[in-house]
């Protein structure tokens, strides 16, 4: 344990001071690790290994998994498109009431996702402020559609992206941008040619976090988009429903979700660690 934590910190930011590890830090750290890892171990131990393959080949599982991956990816794309400019606005532009704006951006982080789902219904539902207009003008209704799932996921996941990109922007050396500006580059050119490459690792980190959050999204999705196989039943919803009658199936589904996210997070680990 000691060696792994040493090498981990060495990667992050140079050699640490030598000397005995202070137990005041080590004991809670190990407790924290156990607290996070033990429930996962519980899932692995209680998993119905003999019937695992057979359960995994059920079409409903693949359907839910595909839907989850597709919607989380689209939601992340939406978040990138809207969230990066928002983060830039918060980090680089002197807005009046910026503190309030920043607080508002983080609201979905603390809002119970189910409430987020209800809020989305009240705005984008058939009788919602915007939704009724969408229906009468374009015949578009968002609840109970895959687009609705993407919206619910983007709503809860975007703050993760905005916060990490804003952090990266604040940490980035602004002298490069100033230099570019004095050489005559417009603000858009500076953003595109200097800022974006500079904070790319932060954007990747934010996108990964955002994707992971979207993949696990449950409350807003089930409230706003409903629960129907193939269109809106993502993995977390399938897990919840399976728990009603078949806890073993729920464990299998969770393991799949876990495996997918571990593989993807691990494959992005280097950038992730550098950015953090």
């Amino acid at each position: 344990m000691t060696t792994t934590s040493r090498s981990g910190s060495a990667r992050g930011g140079g050699r640490v001071v030598a000397g005995r590890l202070p137990w005041v830090l080590v004991v809670p750290a190990l407790l924290g690790l156990a607290f996070l890892v033990l429930p996962l171990a519980g899932l692995l131990i209680r998993a119905p290994w003999p019937t695992l393959l057979q359960r995994l080949s059920e079409p409903q599982i693949l359907e839910a998994l595909r839907l989850s991956v597709v919607t989380a990816t689209i939601a992340t794309a939406v978040c990138l498109l809207l969230g990066v400019p928002l983060a830039w606005l918060l980090a680089r532009v002197d807005l009046p009431g910026k503190r309030v704006v920043r607080a508002l951006v983080t609201v979905p982080l603390v809002l119970p996702p189910v409430v987020g789902g209800v809020a989305l219904l009240l705005v984008l539902g058939r009788r919602g402020l915007v939704g009724q207009w969408l229906e009468s003008a374009f015949g578009v209704t968002l609840p109970f559609t895959t687009a609705g799932v993407v919206i619910a996921e983007a709503f809860v996941a975007m703050p993760f992206l905005v916060i990490s990109v804003e952090g990266a922007l604040r940490a980035a050396d602004q002298r490069y941008e100033e230099a570019a500006a004095t050489l005559g580059a417009s603000r858009w050119t500076v953003f595109r040619r200097v800022t974006l490459p500079l904070v790319a690792p932060g954007i990747v980190a934010g996108a990964v976090l955002c994707w992971a959050r979207a993949l696990g999204e449950f409350g807003a999705t089930i409230t706003f988009a409903g629960n129907f196989p193939g269109t809106t039943r993502t993995m977390p919803l399938a897990v919840y429903l399976a728990l009603e009658t078949e806890p073993e199936a729920a464990i299998v589904l969770s393991l799949v979700l876990l495996a997918v996210s571990v593989v993807i997070l691990a494959s992005l680990r280097d950038r992730w660690v550098n950015a953090a």
């Binding site: 009788r127 109970f144 409903g226 629960n227 129907f228 039943r233 429903l241 728990l243 009603e244």
Partner: protein, 247 residues
């Protein structure tokens, strides 16, 4: 640093002490089907009034979820389910003895006020463009809905399969769907926002509601007294008012 730690520790101990004191009085924990929300909340208040110092806490949800929670060791005293099948999950695990049926419930078609899709019969639920919410077949109201629709000879493609009857009702309340199959009791509970349409085939899918005291009920006799209240004439009145039928 040390002083901060000590303060935190002292505060934690004080809080723990308070918690222990508060749980000194009588406490009954009732796990009940979502459809019992209104009637049991009322009965709980009446029970507390009749037994000063006791507190009745409820965990309302889909009977299937509650049954799983009890099997996994949730500290319940009483379980009231919306179907014998979900009760069986608990009795099969030898956690409760002989449950008794205390009420019955029937489905109705619920439509939002104004009935925008002009739904009148189960057959209308299958019409193109009519958005229908049903309970998932994993929970009692979903089983009943499937039976009733089968009896009516109607094939419905819902837009969503909700995880309990209150969630299904919410979709009608908000006007997000044109119709849903929920219990008569839920229609009554949402009177004003939702209109109920009875249909004859619902008689083929009547749900029996069993109730049982769990063998390891921490509340002991208090739990039995709560079940007695539910089955008393007083309890029957409350249930009948909510729209339940006597068994």
């Amino acid at each position: 640093m040390r002083r901060v730690l000590l303060t935190v520790l002292a505060a934690a101990l004080a809080l723990a002490g308070c918690g222990a004191e508060a749980s000194g009085g009588g406490k009954v924990t009732v796990f009940a089907a979502a459809s019992l929300t209104e009637s049991f909340t009322r009965l709980g208040a009446e029970f507390e009034a009749a037994h000063p110092g006791t507190a009745v806490t409820f965990n309302f949800g889909s009977s299937a979820t509650l049954a799983q929670q009890i099997v996994q060791g949730a500290p319940a005293d009483v379980f009231a389910a919306a179907s014998p099948a979900t009760m069986r999950t608990v009795t099969d695990a030898s956690l409760a003895g002989a449950p008794v049926t205390f009420a019955r419930n029937k489905l109705e078609i619920a439509v939002p006020a104004g009935n925008p899709a002009k739904v009148r019969t189960p057959a209308d639920l299958a019409a193109p463009g009519v958005k229908v919410a049903l309970c998932a077949e994993q929970v009692p109201c979903g089983v009943a809905a499937a039976q009733a629709l089968k009896a009516a000879g109607v094939r419905v493609t819902p837009v969503t399969l909700e995880q309990d009857v209150k969630a299904t009702l919410t979709k009608v309340r908000l006007g997000e769907v044109d119709a849903a199959l929920v219990y008569r009791t839920d229609v009554l509970a949402a009177a004003g926002e939702v209109r109920g349409i009875p249909f004859p085939e619902a008689d083929r899918a009547v749900n029996d509601y069993p109730i049982a005291v769990l063998d390891d009920a921490p509340a002991g006799d208090l739990a039995k007294q709560f079940v007695q209240l539910v089955r008393s004439p007083q309890g029957k009145d409350v249930l009948a008012e909510a729209g339940f039928e006597a068994p």
